[in-house]
Amino acid sequence: KGHIEIDEELYEEIEEILITGDVGFETTLKIVDMLRKNVKKKSIQDVKDVREELKLIVEEILSGDDSNLKLEPKPAILVIVGVNGVGKTTSIGKIAMRLKSEGKSVLLAAGDTFRAAAAEQLEVWADRAGVELIKHQEGSDPSAVIFDAISGAKARNTDVLICDTAGRLHNKKNLMQELAKIFRIIDREYPEATKEVLLVIDATTGQNAINQVKIFKEAAPLTGIILTKLDGTAKGGVVLSIKSEQQLPIKLIGVGEKIEDLQDFNAKDFAKALFSSN
C-alpha cells in the first residue's frame, strides 16, 4: 500500500495481513522470517518485489503434490467428511455435476441419516445434477446406507459413488468411531474401488481447522481437502499451517452456493487472493 521503503513497518504490515487471513501466528512468523532471508539473499530493493516474493513463498508452501481428484481406475468411491455446516452436501452436488458433465456415471449415497432433512437436501442436489441417489430413513445406520450404495454402484456399474456423511465435530469420540466404521465397510465391500476421501474445511474457520485435520485423519483415510466459502471475505489462510504440518493437498474450492461454484485449487490464485483487500 503506502510503503516505499523496506522497513520494519512493512514487515509488520505483512504480518498483520497473514494473521488476519487466519494463517496463524507461528506459520506467519516462519513465512516472514523466510521473506526477510530471501529479500537479503536476492538483494531485493523494491517494496513491490518484496510482495511478489511473499506470494512466491506462499505459493511454494501450497504447491507441490498433485491436487487432481483421483477417480481412476474405475470404479471409484469418493467420501466427503467434515465438521457441521462446512459445505459437504453442497460440494457433493457440485462434484456430481462436474463428473457427469465429464461423461462419468455417478451415484450418490445419503450417508447423513442424522440431521433434519439431510437426505432431502442431497436429493435436490441429485436432481439438479441429474444423478441417482440411495437413501434410507432418517435415524437409520449410516453404514447400512453406504453398504447399500456400494451394492447399487456395483449393480449399475457406476463410475463414481459419492458418499455424504453427517457433520461431526472431531472431538466427539462416538461420532468419529461411527465414521471409522463406515470406512471398514468400504474396505470390506469395495476393495477394488479407487478411494478419494476429502475433508471439507470452511474458509471462515480459524485455527481450529488444524485440529479438524489431525483428528479426522485418525478415523478417515484422508486424501485431500475441499476449501469452501472462499467467495466471502475470509481468506482460508489456515490451510498454510495445515499444508506445512500435514501434507494434505487442497483439491477443490467452493466459491458460492450454485452448482457451478466449484473450482480446482490453484496455489497462485490463492496466494494472490490472500494478499488482496476485499
Binding site: F25, V83, N84, A117, E123, H170, T204, T205, N208, T233
Partner: protein, 297 residues
C-alpha cells in the same frame, strides 16, 4: 471445552511471572509475547490482541507495578482485569415484549447454525410457557423449509411456511400477522444463510426488518470462526443492526477467540450458546463466568 486451552496457555505463561520479586521491562515483554501468541492461537482478532497487549504493557511498566513488592502478581491482575473488560458485562437476556408476539429474527453466514438454533430457542421458550411459531424464510437452500419443519415439530412449536412463495419478506410478514391474529407469544424468523458482503441478500434482511420490526435480531455465529468473525459481525451490525449474538458449536474444542473479538469490537452481548445438535443443547451465555473460566479464577 471452549477457552480451556486458552486458559491453560495464559495461566502457565503468567505463572512464570508470579514468583518474580523484581520485574524488568524485558520480563514483561517476554510474557506479553506469550500472551499474544495464546490469544492469536485462540483466534482473537489481530487488532483486539494488539490493543490488549499495548494496554497491559502500558499499565505494567508503570512504576507502581514495577516497584511494588509483588510485581508479577500485579501484572497478572492487570491481564485479568483487561480480559474481563473484553468479555464484558453481565448476562443479558432476550427482550420479551410486553405486547406479544415478540419477534426474533435469526441471521448469519451459511451453515452457522440458524435453523437448528431456531428449534432450540423455540423449545427453550416453550419450556418457559410460551407458544412459539417458527417462520420459514429460507427459500434458497435445498430442503431448508423441510429442515425447519422437522425441527419445529421436535420442539412442539407452530410452523409457518408458504409453499411456492419465493419472497421471504412476504412470508415473514404473513407469518407475523398470523401469529398476531392467533395470539402466539413468540415469532422466530429463520432466514437463509448469506455473506455479509452480499448486498441483495442484505437488502432482503433490511426489508424483513422494516416490515415486521423484530424485537431481537440475533446474529448466529459459528464459534470456530477465525479472524473474519469481526468483519462479519461488524457488517451485519452496520447494515442491519443486531441486538445480540448466539454462538454455536461450543461443544467443539475451539478456543473461541471469535467470541472475545466480536464482543470487544461490536459491544453486542452474546446471549446464548449452542452446545450440541440436540434441541435441548442451548444455554444462556454468562460472560462473567466465561471470563473467569479463561483466567481460571
Amino acid at each position: 471445552m471452549i477457552f480451556e486451552n486458552l486458559a491453560e496457555k495464559l495461566q502457565s505463561t503468567l505463572k512464570n511471572l508470579k514468583g518474580k520479586g523484581k520485574l524488568t521491562e524485558k520480563d514483561v515483554d517476554l510474557a506479553m509475547r506469550e500472551v499474544k501468541l495464546a490469544l492469536l492461537e485462540a483466534d482473537v482478532h489481530y487488532k483486539v490482541v494488539k490493543d490488549f497487549i499495548k494496554k497491559v504493557k502500558e499499565r505494567s511498566i508503570g512504576s507502581e507495578v514495577m516497584e511494588s513488592l509483588t510485581p508479577g502478581q500485579q501484572v497478572i491482575k492487570i491481564v485479568n482485569e483487561e480480559l474481563s473488560e473484553l468479555m464484558g458485562g453481565v448476562q443479558s437476556k432476550i427482550n420479551i415484549s410486553s405486547k406479544p408476539p415478540t419477534v426474533i429474527m435469526l441471521v448469519g453466514l451459511q451453515g452457522a447454525g440458524k435453523t437448528s438454533t431456531a428449534g432450540k430457542l423455540a423449545l427453550n421458550l416453550k419450556k418457559q410457557g410460551k407458544q412459539p411459531m417458527l417462520v420459514a424464510c429460507d427459500v434458497y437452500r435445498p430442503a431448508a423449509i423441510k429442515q425447519l419443519e422437522i425441527v419445529a415439530s421436535g420442539a412442539g412449536a407452530i410452523f409457518y411456511s408458504e409453499e411456492g412463495n419465493t419472497n421471504p419478506v412476504e412470508i415473514a410478514t404473513k407469518g407475523y400477522e398470523k401469529a398476531k391474529t392467533l395470539g402466539y407469544d413468540i415469532v422466530i424468523i429463520d432466514t437463509a444463510g448469506r455473506l455479509h458482503i452480499d448486498e441483495n441478500l442484505m437488502d432482503e434482511l433490511k426489508n424483513i426488518k422494516s416490515s415486521i420490526k423484530p424485537h431481537e435480531i440475533m446474529l448466529v455465529v459459528d464459534s470456530m470462526t477465525g479472524q473474519d468473525a469481526v468483519n462479519i459481525a461488524e457488517s451485519f451490525d452496520q447494515t442491519l443492526g443486531i441486538d445480540g449474538v448466539i454462538l454455536t458449536k461450543l461443544d467443539g474444542d475451539t478456543r473461541g477467540g471469535a467470541a472475545l473479538s466480536i464482543k470487544a469490537i461490536t459491544k453486542k452481548p452474546i446471549k446464548y450458546a449452542a452446545v450440541g445438535e440436540k434441541l435441548e443443547d442451548l444455554e444462556q451465555f454468562y460472560p462473567d463466568r466465561m471470563a473467569s473460566r479463561i483466567l481460571g479464577m
